[in-house]
């Protein structure tokens, strides 16, 4: 099973420009999580801080008991071997062709024979649809191909934790759908902990077990997918629906005057460019390709979520309960979908689950 990543109170600034403050979240082992957030909110910086490429001002990031913010250089290199990271631009080695790029981690860290390496590399290249391009240099392929090659390289050591920075940007919708399926299949096969940073709403709705969002220098929320998908938070609603109306502006934040003006335009019938339908709500999650093993994470996550069910907002509770099968309802001691749990107060604050094992 993949490793658990516990982030506590992480804060990062460049000079006196604060990027985000007090980010606390736990990536549950073996589950797929997605981090959303408008462009420039520091999602890439967050990923880089998680692997020790950037040094946060304070906070902890614990993986297998090692706090990578404070640990020694040697320890850091050790821990990084657990990671497979896809950078936003692929970050391929410009002087090596695709084959050598993907073979690089194997040659560095394993004693495999060239024949074995060849088998693995060709397998990963086929997985990402790059067969036939092995001999090309990174400068000679398209942006989307670079991305996929970067992913192939990230997967080659069967990592326990996979970080993907916008795996879908620069890919067409069909390839993005294949990629979503690939990530889910991968999770079913090697049970790795996966964190995906993306702007792709469709991917965010269908792929992850957990969803989070960064905005205004803070982690707005992070928790089971149902929580964010049913949230009433204006930022979340705006982002999921891709509207102009709402707190997010072209530069990260809007002032009150602009908000008022846009609302006036909307009231006068000027469309803000989004579709009328509300994209929020819990949609069925992507399943592994038939024939592959079942995703272990699904069961683990259900157990965990059912335990903290009472602390989630009512809409999320309803979404979760509606997604359970009859057998599961019985297993968790519920009989029928309750219309609206009354005993919980209508809180907006969604806690990340408490540290430690869920």
């Amino acid at each position: 099973m993949g490793a658990e990543v516990v982030v506590e109170g992480l804060t990062k600034s460049f000079g006196n420009q604060a990027i985000w403050r007090d980010v606390t979240l736990t990536l549950p082992p073996g589950e797929v999580s997605v981090m959303l957030g408008p462009s420039g909110t520091g999602k890439s910086v967050f990923l880089k801080s998680m692997i020790g490429l950037l040094k946060p001002d304070r906070g902890r990031c614990v993986i297998n008991g090692v706090d990578i913010v404070t640990c020694s250089e040697a320890k850091l290199y050790e821990v990084r071997k657990l990671f497979g990271v896809l950078f936003q631009d692929g970050a391929l080695f410009g002087s090596m062709n695709l084959y050598d790029n993907v073979a690089f981690p194997l040659r560095e860290h394993t004693r495999k024979s060239e024949a074995e390496i060849k088998r693995i590399v060709l397998d990963k290249l086929e997985l990402t649809g790059l067969q036939g391009a092995e001999r090309k240099l990174p400068g000679e392929i398209s942006g989307g191909m670079r991305k996929r090659a970067g992913l192939a390289r990230a997967l080659v050591l069967d990592p326990e934790i996979i970080l993907c920075d916008e795996p879908d940007s620069g890919l067409d919708p069909v390839r993005t759908a294949y990629l979503s399926q690939l990530l889910i299949d991968l999770n079913a096969q090697i049970d790795a902990t996966i964190l995906i940073v993306t702007h792709n709403i469709n991917l965010a709705r269908t792929v992850p077990d957990n969803l989070g969002m960064l905005f205004r220098k803070e982690l707005v929320m992070f928790g089971p997918r149902e929580v964010l998908l049913t949230s009433d938070e204006p930022v979340v609603a705006q982002f999921l629906n891709g509207r102009r109306l709402g707190p997010i502006g072209m530069s990260e934040e809007k002032d009150a005057a602009q908000i008022a003006q846009e609302e006036a335009h909307a009231a006068a019938g000027h469309s803000d460019g989004s579709s009328e339908e509300d994209l929020r709500g819990v949609v069925p999650q992507l399943e592994p390709t038939p024939g592959l093993p079942e995703r272990m994470a699904v069961r683990r996550r259900k157990d965990r979520v059912m335990q903290i069910l009472h602390s989630l907002p009512p809409a999320a509770q309803q979404g979760i309960i509606e997604s359970l099968t009859h057998d599961e309802l019985l297993r968790y001691g519920l009989t029928a979908p309750r219309p609206r749990p009354a005993e919980v107060d209508d809180t907006q604050e969604i806690p990340a689950w408490p540290g430690g094992r869920p």
Binding site: L53, D57, R80, K81, Q88, D89, F93, G94, H109
Partner: protein
């Protein structure tokens, strides 16, 4: 605890210097880490040599000639004509050769190293390498620094030979000195440590050129434009450091090693 925004004038320069030294120490430590990147080392040696040999030779000939001419005239005025050979050889081997070498290794080799590492940094290749658990210092920087050092030492030999030959030619053929006096004075005043200090200087200059180029390459400010600036700065910083270090080394050498015949 916020970011350290309070600072005093010159703090930035001090911080940069400190980090430059940290990288230098890192490079030295990583030289002894296995596996040694032999292939990269040979490629880099070949590359640096190929961009520096010709310009160095071309610079060395007129340099030898200048030294010979200038000293020749001066020494005639002083009336110590028979020592022209020794004087020009010492000047070339101890001062001119290591500096010419270093300027070319820094100007041609260092700038190429800096541009290469810099573009890798902005393409996130360096980050990717670290994340793959491979130290970029050990893998990329060490072979380059060692290559710069080796090439500097070899080029220093080349410049010495070419420079001395140039000096000899000018002295004997154009200024009417006698070959015998030239050679005799040479063995009367020059000694083996003169050659050692020359090679030692070249070695140290090669190291400085390599480390400064790598440091600036690893820390470009903001994108491709930053790489251009970094290359520029790396050459300037290296030159400044070289002349300073040369001054220190020369002063120490003259104190420590007694001049022959005194």
């Amino acid at each position: 605890m916020t970011a350290p925004t309070r600072s005093f004038p010159g703090a930035g320069a001090l911080r940069e210097t400190g980090r430059l030294f940290a990288l230098a120490i890192d490079v030295v430590v990583n030289i002894f880490k296995r596996p040694f990147q032999t292939r990269e080392f040979i490629q880099q040696c070949w590359f640096i040599a190929s961009v520096t040999i010709l310009p160095t030779a071309l610079v060395a000939i007129p340099f030898g000639a200048i030294v010979a001419l200038q000293l020749g005239t001066l020494i005639v005025q002083l009336g110590a004509q028979s020592f022209t050979g020794a004087a020009s050889v010492l000047a070339i081997i101890q001062q001119a050769a290591p500096l010419v070498t270093a300027l070319l290794v820094a100007g041609a080799g260092g700038s190429a190293i800096c541009a290469d590492i810099g573009s890798r940094t902005i393409r996130e290749e360096i980050d990717a390498m670290e994340v793959l658990g491979v130290s970029p210092v050990q893998r990329l920087i060490v072979p380059r620094v060692l290559a710069a050092m080796l090439v500097a030492v070899l080029l220093n030999g080349l410049v010495s030979v070419v420079g001395v030959m140039g000096g000899y030619f000018f002295n004997v053929v154009l200024q009417g000195g006698t070959p015998g006096a030239y050679l005799a004075s040479f063995s009367a005043l020059a000694q083996l440590p003169d050659l050692w200090i020359s090679e030692l200087k070249a070695l140290i200059f090669g190291f400085i050129a390599g480390v400064v180029a790598a440091y600036r390459g690893l820390n470009p400010k903001g994108g491709p434009k930053g790489v251009g600036d970094a290359v520029n700065q790396s050459v300037v910083i290296t030159f400044l450091l070289l002349f300073f270090v040369n001054f220190v080394l020369t002063a120490v050498y003259l104190q420590v090693v007694p001049a022959k015949g005194s």
